[in-house]
């Protein structure tokens, strides 16, 4: 495997994550449907999670899992990727799931109340 290509690929992962986030932001700001907004929020979350995991990764790392005999080869320890971002991402995913659930529940109620999913028409509260 070419190292330069790998190098670019490294950036490409970052870029993809950020791109996914930007798509999410775009959807949040532009799409009028409540559902699309909720999806966009999820997309932002996904991009962000990807980004975080990427930060923790470095080239050639291994999964940060203690296994029997792991300590025998001391070199492996430094090869392990940072486990903390992964732990954080796990938490973040859970939280994101919760939020999405709440958001969808609200969308249902809004749809029942207003009979539409267009966010521009849900403006009873203003000024």
């Amino acid at each position: 495997m070419d190292s330069t290509l790998f190098h670019y690929l490294d950036y490409a992962v970052y870029g993809t994550a950020i791109l996914v986030m930007l798509i999410g932001f775009y959807g949040t700001m532009v799409k009028k449907s409540l559902l699309k907004i909720v999806i966009s929020l999820s997309v932002i979350d996904s991009g962000l999670n990807l980004l975080i995991v990427t930060i923790g990764y470095y080239k050639g790392g291994t999964a940060p899992i203690f296994s029997p005999g792991f300590l025998k080869n001391f070199k492996d320890v430094s090869k392990m990727v940072d486990p903390i971002p992964q732990a954080l991402v796990l938490t973040a995913i859970v939280i994101g799931f919760g939020v999405t659930a709440v958001a969808l529940a609200l969308v249902i109620r809004l749809y029942r109340h207003h009979g539409t999913l267009n966010i521009d028409e849900i403006k009873n509260l203003k000024w």
Binding site: F25, M29, I37, D120, I122, K123, K126
Partner: protein, 615 residues
Amino acid sequence: MEMIHIIFLIFLGGAVLTYFAGKVSKVLQDIFFLLSVLVPAYLFFANVGIGKEVTLTLGGITLVWGVNHFSWLFSLIVLGLGSMAAIYAIGYMKGKERKGYFYFNFILSIMAMMGILLSLDLVSFFVFWEIMTWSSYLMTVYNGHETQRIGIKYFVFSAIGAYAMLMAIVIVHHVAGSFMIGSMINFYPNMSLSLQIWIPILFLMAFGVKAALMPLHVWAPDAYSNAPMAYTSVFSGALSKMGIYGMVIVLVTMINQIPQGFWFREVIAWLGGITAVLGTLWAIKQDDAKKLLAYSSVAQLGYIIVGIAIGTELGMLAGLFLAVMHALFKGTLFMVTGAVEKQTGTTNFTEVTGLIRKMPWTFFAALFSIIALAGIPPLGGFVGKWMLYEALITSNHYLLVIVIFFSSTAAFLYCYKFLFGFFLGQEEKEWAHVKEAPVVMLVPMIIMSVLMFVLGTFPGLILKPINSGLVDLGYIDTFKHLWNTSIIFNAWGDHVVLQPILYYIIAIFVFFALFLTWKGHKTTRYVTTKDISSSGEVPAEDENLTFSVGFMQPFLRAVAPAMRRQIDKYYTGIADGLESLFEFMRRIYTGNGQTYAVYVIVFVVVVLLFKSVLF
């Protein structure tokens, strides 16, 4: 526990007790109310020595309260007028709703005014100032719905003033390192020039609002006329004097210390003069007694401001003497209006007429106060006016003296209008049932009228404490060279000897009064006001012949150009403009969740773009 603390506790406890006593019994409430005004007044004058100081530490701030001669003089106004108005209020409030509310705020106002006078540090000064403001505000809106706009106007002006003062206070604290008034004064000469100019301006804004100095006076007519009359007599008589009190201190201890002070004093004096003129003109225009008196209060405060702003010894004496007199006569006049309002239910000149024979004692009080107000000898108002003119002339304010003279001559017009509107003129059938006011309301009025008379002949009685107060402020003793017990001098040595003049006046008056009464007394008869020479026409009993609509029309036509513009309108315009702006501003919150999300992103982007500027 010091006596001063006890006095404040009585006020405070009395206010709360009075409020809740109303739930038990109305009489008990009245008694509590009287006691909680009169007892502290007695304790103050009997037990609090001048020069005494007590301290209290609160929130890391040392609060110092004490009395000096100058604040003692104002205490005299506050507690004296307060006691009188309290007695009057018992009668005035009888049968009215929200008595507890009234009494509570009344006592708190008195307490706050005393607090202002006794404060030797700026924080307690400000605290009491604000308590005074809101308690008087609550009184202003006592009459309910219609008054709320007026009340808010009053409160907004007061708040602007008070906040200006608060700013000055914290700046002083910053530079002088202490909240004490004494240290502020001591440090003042060491301040930077801009502070030396701005600190007095900020203070004067606060005091100017309370003293109804143009252009900060627009709240006054409405507020004075809409509070209950029993309170307005204190409001106009004593509460406005707090502004004067503050002004004197600022003028003497700060402005006189700096070379730019001359311009300050000129500007304030001229503002006072213009206030006097405008107040007078507008007072003439009013058809409602309350409004008339309210504008007249503004005008009278203008004189007082002129007196203290020119700052000579005689000017100070004049201003403070007028302040005392104004408390007396304007207090009485508002009481008179209240009595008329209570007995007839209205205070409009176009409705009430010819009460003189129904309410003779009230008329007597009104007559005396009007004579005092107009500054006609031999009542006290003249002494104040005389000293003011002499002070203005001897200190080379030639044009100002004309301005003041114009306004005090024009004041005759509204003085007459007041007396004529209520008491003189046709005795209409509509008011035939009207009775004299209750004794409890009459007594304070009569006492104050007599006081006006006494002070007119022996002004020394009150000039003495004024003199002590001025000596406290650093003026030289003016006794014997500006006044004697019954003689007043000007700086050029001319003088008026009041006592023989009084004798002459009484003698001439009594002689001709006797002459008129004695001569042909058998064939002199009383005829009703319907029996007038109206070109032979016979007015019916229920025909209204009274001349009261458009009363001073010819004069108003003559001065119409000066009254075309109203400062009030400008303020209203500004307020409306601001409200529209705010209405526009709140549309930022569009109600669309997406917009809010965009705001967030925009905020982040903008801050990131300008991060080199911001960070």
